[in-house]
């Protein structure tokens, strides 16, 4: 376990159980994790190992059955729904495998949504959306509906939306799971650029090539961490080669 000063996320004995008695399922079995500012942590494991549940716990989308969870100085595991929602609004960004863009909103409007929910003015929200669209190289697709975008473009919009309120951490659940190789590369390059700006990521994936781009890799099996290693390859420039898509 690597301890860092100034952790963005810190979990101790984090557990999640479903059901009771014979039907009890221990999805996450008391794991410890620290995510430092600017760090990218990849959580890897086979389907059903509990990695998505872990991500939901870290983002306050699910309540832990046991354990402690801290974001900076704020303890999350005791917070109510309202406080967790506010925290998601300001400090956490989500990227989902299925993109989860609002179908009737354009790319720009989807990116504006978190800012509007956070109480920003429509003008400020629009300006931030334009800035992010430029950053993800989709300025020319600002007025396109999700149905008119490719998979890679949709995921880039979803990443831009996750960054709308400048969160402390972006939690990505299989961000390339629904993408072909070219689109996967497109998304990984974007993540790499964002990392370069100091954005913190926790990425859940079952794809080794994606995991290889992280600073640190945590392997999960049956709800528990079975291995943790520090990687030295997750840097810009060698991404394509490391991820196995190029060269």
């Amino acid at each position: 376990m690597i301890e860092r000063v100034g952790s963005v996320l810190r979990a101790r004995g984090l557990a999640k159980e479903y059901g009771t008695g014979a039907a009890l399922v221990q999805a996450v079995k008391g794991v410890d994790i620290d995510v430092a500012a600017g760090e990218t942590v990849a959580v890897m494991g086979p389907s059903g190992c509990g990695k998505s549940t872990l991500l939901h716990l870290l983002g306050g989308l699910e309540r832990p059955s046991a354990g402690e969870l801290h974001m900076g100085d704020t303890r999350l595991d005791g917070l109510g729904e309202h406080a967790l929602a506010r925290l998601r609004r300001t400090s956490i960004g989500f990227v989902f495998q299925a993109f989860h863009l609002v179908e009737e909103l354009t790319a720009a409007e989807n990116i504006e949504l978190p800012a509007l929910l956070a109480g920003r003015s429509p003008r400020a929200a629009r300006a931030r959306a334009q800035e992010l669209l430029e950053q993800v190289s989709l300025l020319d697709r600002a007025r396109h509906l999700p149905s008119a975008l490719s998979g890679g473009q949709r995921q880039r919009v979803a990443i831009a939306r996750a960054l709308s309120n400048e969160p402390q951490v972006v939690l990505a659940d299989e961000p390339t799971g629904n993408l072909d190789s070219a689109a996967t590369l497109e998304v990984l390059r974007l993540l790499e650029e964002l990392r370069a700006f100091g954005q913190t990521f926790v990425i859940v994936t079952h794809d080794e090539r994606v995991a290889a781009t992280a600073d640190r890799l945590v392997s999960m099996r049956d709800g528990d961490f079975v291995e943790e290693m520090r990687l030295s390859h997750g840097s810009a420039g060698r991404l394509g080669e490391l991820a196995g898509f190029e060269g």
């Binding site: 609004r89 299925a98 179908e103 949504l113």
Partner: protein
């Protein structure tokens, strides 16, 4: 044959898979058909009791009246009531010649029997603190050859201070045999209650005895001398003459100019006199039931409209979930026609069941509403179900089901198989203007306005639901307000069977309608919550609180409720105005404001139930489900 069997089997399977929705479809259509059946069952229910009363009292064919107009009151007071005969104001008192002519009519050619003329005085009846206007007919102790009122309680008059009260009026005023009453301050003892077929039942007495200085007067029989003593220069005597004719007069009597008196003399109808036929009296006696029937019929149309909204919401909501099933059917070879047939057959079968249930309920409940009133003998008995009623009710039920399922059926027919199998959500409607406008609003309004805009048809149905409901509520309040104003003005301090009947019918219709509207509001919100599960869950993942989601779902229902209530208020007043034949109807503004605010509050409260249930579902669970 095989296709018919397959369609029936698939339709039956759909019903079994969604028993609650099927029950609600049946409930909505049954509410409309039962009310319509009740309205139809009231047709002609007073015919038998009137004929029975006419036979028992030796009712006349025609009642002739000679009216002495009251002099205009010197101080303030109410004038003649509405609805009486128009009489020349220059002829206040009958000349001796006209009186003689009136008497002579009893012996005119074609008249085979008569009774009267009887004097009729107008008096103020006092009983305890209550006062009311009455026509006091002077009668003999000896039974008359024509129109001898049949005593139903007590006995006929024998002394000068005896009074017999018309039974319908006595019931409304709560008068019993043995009670003391005063007529123009003079004391009388009520010795009996009686019914007659010569004068319409209370409150339509003045139809036969015109020139009434009181609205809705009652009828009391006293000794002839006592009646004459009650007359005054301002309220002089009128006279009634009951005639039995060889040949019945045409109905209506508009074409009758007069009665040949013999010797070249003619009794002209239209001067301070009237002639009322038995048919007209029957018509007047049936009026309360006609009004009740009208209220129920209009109520059934309103309920029918609401049922269309109910079924459309239910079917539309289900179709959103059922698209995959449609895709499966098409994938295994079902043609679009077969898919349409399955949906239509399912709902038409439910509508047929609802029509049968409505007929049965209407037939069973009709006796509760068809009592002819105390002024006639006997009861109306069980209403008959005519072929016309059955066909009309079936047509209404099938029309409701067809109208409501048409759009979802067409959508299912057009749906591509691949898209249906993918269970892809229907693409919501996008409104850039609404999206831009809502960006400036607080979060519940931002999300609520966008939710309302993404499914315009459902939003219109929600507005329609509220408009029909508010129309009914305002109509009921307007009628009630009108009755209250009449009471405040002193027109009707006693129970009025006609208004009582209207009130019963209106309460019945409005209770059924409010229940149906509440169910609609719940289902529309639930359908909205299910349909908008994806964008609302995303909003929650991005930081919207469950409370904001609940409020936004409620806001999405309040937005259509606003125009619905705004349209419903004038529509309700217009409905009553139309039924009042253009009479000006007024409703206190504060009541209308209360209806408006109450509607919005009720919608907010009702929609908050499914909204909060929906907002409590774990975000992660929904997001995972959306991925599958």
């Amino acid at each position: 044959m095989g296709r018919v069997f397959l369609v029936a089997r698939l339709a039956a399977a759909n019903v079994r898979r969604h028993p609650v929705e099927a029950a609600l479809v049946v409930l909505a259509i049954t509410a409309a058909t039962a009310t319509l059946a009740l309205g139809l069952a009231l047709r002609g229910v007073t015919d038998d009791p009137y004929q029975r009363t006419r036979a028992a009292t030796r009712g006349p064919d025609v009642v002739a009246g000679l009216f002495n107009l009251p002099k205009p009151p010197e101080t303030g007071g109410s004038g003649p009531g509405p609805g009486h005969e128009t009489i020349s104001s220059t002829d206040n008192l009958p000349s001796k010649q006209r009186m003689a002519d009136f008497d002579a009519m009893a012996h005119a050619a074609g008249v085979v029997a008569h009774s009267g003329p009887y004097p009729v005085a107008w008096a103020t009846l006092g009983r305890g603190t209550k006062t009311a206007g009455v026509a006091v007919e002077g009668r003999d102790q000896i039974p008359a050859a024509l129109d001898q009122p049949l005593v139903t309680r007590g006995q006929w008059i024998s002394r000068r201070d005896d009074a017999v009260v018309e039974a319908g009026y006595a019931e409304s005023l709560g008068i019993h045999v043995g009670d003391q009453i005063s007529l123009n301050g003079k004391h009388f003892l009520v010795v009996g209650l009686a019914v007659t077929a010569a004068v319409p039942d209370y409150p339509s007495v003045q139809t036969a005895i015109g020139a009434s200085p009181f609205p809705d007067p009652g009828l009391i029989w006293v000794n002839r001398a006592a009646s004459r003593n009650l007359a005054s220069p301002t309220l002089p005597l009128s006279y009634l003459l009951n005639l039995k004719l060889r040949r019945p007069l045409p109905h209506p009597l508009e074409g009758v100019q007069g009665v040949e008196l013999g010797g070249g003399r003619v009794w002209h109808v239209g001067c301070p006199c009237s002639m009322v036929s038995a048919d007209q009296i029957l018509h007047e006696d049936a009026k309360p039931i006609v009004v009740e029937q009208r209220a129920l019929t209009i109520g059934s149309w309103l309920l029918g409209l609401l049922a269309v909204a109910s079924v459309a919401v239910l079917v539309g909501g289900r179709m959103a979930e059922q698209e995959r099933r449609v895709g499966l059917l098409k994938a295994v070879g079902a043609t679009p026609a077969l898919v349409a047939a399955v949906i239509l057959v399912e709902h038409l079968a439910l509508a047929l069941g609802a029509a049968a249930a409505g007929l049965l309920i209407g037939w069973l409940a009709a006796p509760l509403l068809t009592a002819p009133g105390a002024g006639l003998l006997g009861s109306a008995g069980a209403p008959s179900i005519t072929l016309f009623s059955v066909l009309l009710i079936l047509a209404v039920a099938l029309a409701v089901a067809t109208l409501a399922t048409l759009v979802p059926t067409l959508r299912a027919v057009r749906l591509s198989t691949v898209r249906a199998l993918a269970d892809a959500a229907r693409t919501p409607r996008r409104s850039s203007r609404v999206i831009n406008l809502s960006a400036r609003l607080p979060i519940p309004f931002l999300l609520g306005l966008r939710l309302a805009a993404r499914r315009p048809r459902r939003t219109i149905l929600a507005a329609f639901n509220i408009a029909v409901t508010v129309t009914t509520v305002v109509a009921v309040i307007t009628v009630h307000s009108h009755q209250e104003l009449m009471t405040i003005a002193g027109f009707s301090a006693i129970d009025n069977p006609r208004t009582d009947r209207i009130n019963h019918s209106l309460v019945l219709v409005s209770v059924v309608l409010l229940v149906l509207a509440a169910i609609n509001a719940l289902f529309i919100t639930w359908s909205t919550a299910i349909d908008a599960r994806q964008p609302l869950t995303i909003a929650r993942a991005l930081g919207a609180t469950p409370r904001q989601i609940t409020l936004s779902l409620s806001t999405a229902q309040i937005i259509p409720a606003l125009p619905g209530a705004i349209i419903g208020i004038p529509a309700g007043i217009a409905l009553v105005t139309t039924l009042s034949h253009g009479d000006v109807v007024t409703v206190p503004a504060v009541w209308l404001v209360a209806v408006f605010l109450g509607t919005l509050l009720a919608v907010a409260a009702l929609s908050s139930i499914p909204a909060s249930l929906s907002a409590q579902k774990p975000v992660a669970e929904i997001l995972q489900a959306e991925m599958v």
